[in-house]
């Protein structure tokens, strides 16, 4: 077994949580984000698809899902960056017997709104949403989704029938968006009692009906807390924005090399800025042209620019999965992503330049970042990226007609 190292972090430091197919790691730096300490691995040998850092009410609590081929999936936590790990005797996230379902994996752990400091959510496989209102001690499935009439028609994607995205609305405590592969996006406006499919405009390239009510393979949905009615969506083929809380979606694949991809994240301080990593196709699932490029929009998807400085532009056949791209809340923001080849890259200047933080990890499936001690009150909010003031040449929209035929030929 590998020797486990630990990191310590103090207020003002930045931590990056990295979930891999062989355990969890914790990266720590100061705000300069130039040098990194590496802690871990934790849950050695176990796939860790979901991690989260909860620092509401002064906590410094790291959560992660430890999946085992043998022993099932258990939610673990630590209040000291992994030195002391709490693995509960009885699994806290599990289906009720009457559901006839068994937990396969936990794909997402999301702290609730800061106004609900003891609320946490888990998205799991088979697709369901669990919630805790006692800071993670006890969990229960959200019945409105568990008993959804569409459930019997949901189909698993390549990773399984997983609920992988949870977006509690920043301002409306009754509203939440979730995404399931392959069921699409669903929203509740009544605190989880009922859920409506919200896929109007999102295409399902792989179905005879390209625009069904549900059945899309949505890979990620993100929201900026300063503009909650606006959402961005990375689809299995398709890049979209909604300006009405998900009621309708508009194609924003304007100038990206591929509108296929998995991951997506917002800038912490600018609701117009979003990051993605385009992937060539669902057949190849690697970065186009052997170039590792993060794409950024600073105008809500009207145009996208490649961010390449410090990233390999030759022979880089990389894959960045749906939960492996994240930002911290510093200013300028740190942006981080991990690859299936075990590399973690970071930028400390809003994505302008990049550096490999660590290479040689097991396949990375999850990346989360946090500025330790950021209570969301006293730290700078204004986006000061000077690049934003530069004019960005608008690219021509990606050709839509015939795109399906071209892909089918691959």
């Amino acid at each position: 077994m590998p020797k486990v190292k630990h990191v310590s972090a103090k207020n003002g430091d930045v931590i990056v949580l990295v979930g891999t197919m062989k355990g969890a790691f914790v990266l720590r730096s100061n705000k300069a984000r130039k040098k990194w300490d590496v802690g871990g691995p934790y849950s050695i040998g176990a796939p860790v698809y979901a991690m989260a850092f909860d620092q509401r009410q002064g906590r410094r609590r790291m959560w992660w899902a430890q999946q085992s081929f043998q022993w099932g999936t258990v939610l673990c936590s630590s209040d000291d960056y992994g030195k002391t790990v709490t693995e509960p005797e009885a699994y806290s996230v599990k289906f009720p017997e009457e559901s006839k379902l068994t937990l396969k994996n936990i794909w997402q752990i999301t702290p609730g709104r800061k106004e609900d400091p003891d609320t946490l959510y888990c998205g799991v496989e088979p697709a369901a949403l669990f919630e805790s209102h006692d800071a993670g001690k006890t969990w229960a499935p959200v019945e409105g989704l568990l008993n959804h009439p569409h459930r019997e028609k949901w189909q698993p994607g390549g990773g399984g029938l997983c609920l992988h995205t949870i977006v509690p609305d920043a301002t409306n405590p009754k509203r939440m968006m979730i995404a399931i592969s392959t069921a699409g996006a669903y929203r509740t406006d009544d605190g989880g009692a009922t859920w409506q499919a919200r896929n109007n405009g999102v295409r399902a390239e792989f179905l005879p009906d390209k625009h069904p009510e549900f059945g899309q393979c949505v890979h990620k949905v993100v929201q900026h807390r300063d503009r909650p009615e606006r959402l961005f969506l990375q689809n299995h083929w398709g890049l979209y924005r909604s300006d009405d809380g998900g009621n309708s979606w508009k194609d924003i694949a304007n100038g990206v090399p591929s509108d296929f991809g998995f991951c997506m994240t917002t800038h912490p301080h600018d609701p117009e800025t979003v990051y993605i990593v385009p992937i060539e196709s669902d057949q190849y699932r690697c970065t186009p042209e052997g170039r590792l490029r993060v794409y950024r929009t600073t105008n809500a998807g009207e145009s996208w620019e490649p961010l390449t400085r410090g990233l390999p532009q030759k022979n880089a056949m990389e894959t960045v999965l749906r939960d492996a791209l994240a930002t911290d809340t510093c200013d300028p923001a740190g942006v981080y992503f991990g690859t299936r080849s075990g590399k973690v890259y970071g930028s400390s200047d809003n994505g302008k330049s990049w550096k490999a933080i660590i290479e040689g990890l097991p396949a990375v499936v999850c990346v989360k970042a946090a500025w330790v001690g950021d209570d969301g009150k006293n730290l700078p909010r204004r986006h000061r990226d000077t690049e934003k003031s530069k004019s960005v040449k608008r690219s021509k929209p990606a050709k839509r007609k015939g795109a399906g035929r071209a892909r089918a030929a691959r």
Partner: protein, 93 residues
């Protein structure tokens, strides 16, 4: 006569650090053996069976040399003085 249950190292941390556990009483089947095991060591239950009470896919349970999967599953009889082995299957990548 007591039944002996052997568990792998990972599970020992949920059984007071021990790999060999004695079950007092006379359980007739594997299911009864496990029920008695859970009472004594509750941390073992969710790791060995799922929410529906089924033995997890990649865990094998033997009564003596017989894998219960090929006998009667959880209804497999447990003779007096038997040894029940719980072992993880060779799986993963």
């Amino acid at each position: 006569m007591p039944i002996t249950v052997r568990i792998p190292t990972y599970l020992a941390s949920f059984a007071g650090g021990r790999n060999m556990l004695a079950i007092d009483g006379s359980p007739a089947t594997v299911a009864e053996t496990l029920t008695m095991l859970w009472k004594e060591y509750p941390g073992l239950q969710d790791r060995i069976v799922d929410e529906q009470g089924a033995v997890r896919q990649h865990i094998n349970i033997f009564v003596g040399d017989e894998a219960i999967r090929f006998v009667d599953g959880l209804s497999t009889k447990v003779p007096a003085n038997a040894e029940v082995l719980i072992v993880p299957a060779v799986s993963g990548g």
